[in-house]
Symmetry: C2
Amino acid sequence: MIRIAVDAMGGDHAPGAVVDGALLAAKGLGVEIVLVGSKEAVDRELSRRSVRDSAIQTIHASQVVAMGESPSATLKKRDSSMMVAFQLMKRGEVEAVVSAGNSGAMMATGMFVLGNLPLVDRPAIMVVVPTLLKGAVIIDAGANVDCKPHHLVQFGLMGSIYAEKVLGIPRPRVGALSNGEEEGKGNDLTRAASEQLRSTPLNYIGYVEGRDINSGGVDVVVCDGFTGNVALKTMEGVAGFILQVLKEAFRENTLTRLSYLLSRGALHRAYNRLDYAEYGGAPLLGLNGVAIVAHGGSGPKAIKNAIRVAKETVAHDVNRLIVEVLERLGETHKEDGLPHKVWRHIRSKIDKISERPAAEGEGRENKSGGKG
Amino acid sequence: MIRIAVDAMGGDHAPGAVVDGALLAAKGLGVEIVLVGSKEAVDRELSRRSVRDSAIQTIHASQVVAMGESPSATLKKRDSSMMVAFQLMKRGEVEAVVSAGNSGAMMATGMFVLGNLPLVDRPAIMVVVPTLLKGAVIIDAGANVDCKPHHLVQFGLMGSIYAEKVLGIPRPRVGALSNGEEEGKGNDLTRAASEQLRSTPLNYIGYVEGRDINSGGVDVVVCDGFTGNVALKTMEGVAGFILQVLKEAFRENTLTRLSYLLSRGALHRAYNRLDYAEYGGAPLLGLNGVAIVAHGGSGPKAIKNAIRVAKETVAHDVNRLIVEVLERLGETHKEDGLPHKVWRHIRSKIDKISERPAAEGEGRENKSGGKG
């Protein structure tokens, strides 16, 4: 049975909503949960619900990471619930970590404890958003604000593997988020990344626009973390705005109130199609381990769904696939295949892993390296 | 009476929808319209409606700018409806140009015929989006994909003047669009721009996020044209997606269909609050003239509202105010006030305008300049 550490102290409604979500997951998903956090607070929540579920265990952590906290402040808290959860994964006691806490702190702690996967330069936040079809992923949704083109290529590879294996989309269509679909559009970053993406084995369809994200016309939306975060939060904002306007419309008079009552079920189902909580948490792809960030405002259902995402990411062995694909890409794409820079970069990583001496020049490097 | 040139050939539904929009505007807004385009096509549309409105005039142009066309291809068409319209403005025969055509071509043609306002480096597309309150503006929504920090400062100044004078928002709150509200967030561009914005007389409130755009918490959202375009099209995409999901919900069964009938009026009013057509066109701020881009899919109502925006921009003398504020800023903010770079930049522009010799060094510059 897959064992997952859940940060009991993360999120706006912790620990109550987290404990409820963990209980739902233990019951419904067939996973074992380790709740990490203030033992007193967590046990109080558990006893209040008077449940004894053998699939739920508690491990104490004395510190809590705050929402606005900087990564450097976070890393000083060696006994935070987040840090302790990642250390459980490092020791092989759990296979994934789930938290509704500070996503920047999650990334920093994950990198500190686990590091990145071989060949991956920059882990990224991947978010699944609803579409008229199966859903699409945005990667990076906020981890890396200033990116190089080859980072976007790696995001595309990681997102594509996830979309294929976990979301079950065969040969996912990968698009680079841009300000227009024509080749001449884009900025310096997307133009270079687009050229590189075109020469990978990915099903790259070129530029996509903001309005394509939810249309079902693209499965993997690749962008730097700044742009992805703006797009994602804009989606949230517009959705909230429209729901507010609709609420006011239904409250207008007796007839509109009656109208709402008649279609309440259908509207509720429509709302669920739009609700982030249905889509669970956001995997931090590229970490050397499985880490899922749930929305800060997560209720029990969202926590349960984030745990489901963790389970699926583990079960489909997404990380092993990412490493394999990047390795294969480095081997089959010789210098004339993949754009030279990407190839050289991947190659140098492979060299490092296989620990072959890098031939001439290495001795010199070591000498000058000693000074630093 | 304000006289406005309208590109009769621009947009997906031209010339029919444009002619209808122009008629609505001539009747409802008290403006004179010059329809520019194929005289045959426009006159056919006018005679089909069998109206004779003395406030509407037609001027022939033999060429049409296509939607996907590059700026360089556009500028070769010296008799396009867009080019002829801008030349009318250049000669002082109209005070504004409105087109639902290719926005990149509009900007290129506007720059070619009119140039930019003194002190403005980069004209920008400004879009008004609906909010729970009065509406907010996004600037730049797509003209400049790669920007320098001082461009964003100028966008903030222009957007703020427009929001105050045309939208009637006293002391507009200006925010820089970013991936988080904390100071540590942002990318290289926004961090530098934010620092510069803080030292202007603008009512700068710091970073805002995608979810703040529609909330009413900010009046002027400043960003580079790449980010602004992604945000804007994401808003469009999400709105379309939600409306589609709602439509399906109301079609579910007899009860939901009945429910729709009962609240149709209220839902229609809600839809109008969200509809871009209600907000009219997007001014190209910073051009040495008034140019308004309407949405490519504009129907008659959207065309009419774009003409209304043109009229208001002329009536409030937005361009004169922009120049005045930039001049005053250059005078009152000595080197220790505004960040040095912005100041120096504005100062050099003022120097150029007042045509004072730039003292020592200028002779040398002229000599080496002669070689190029």
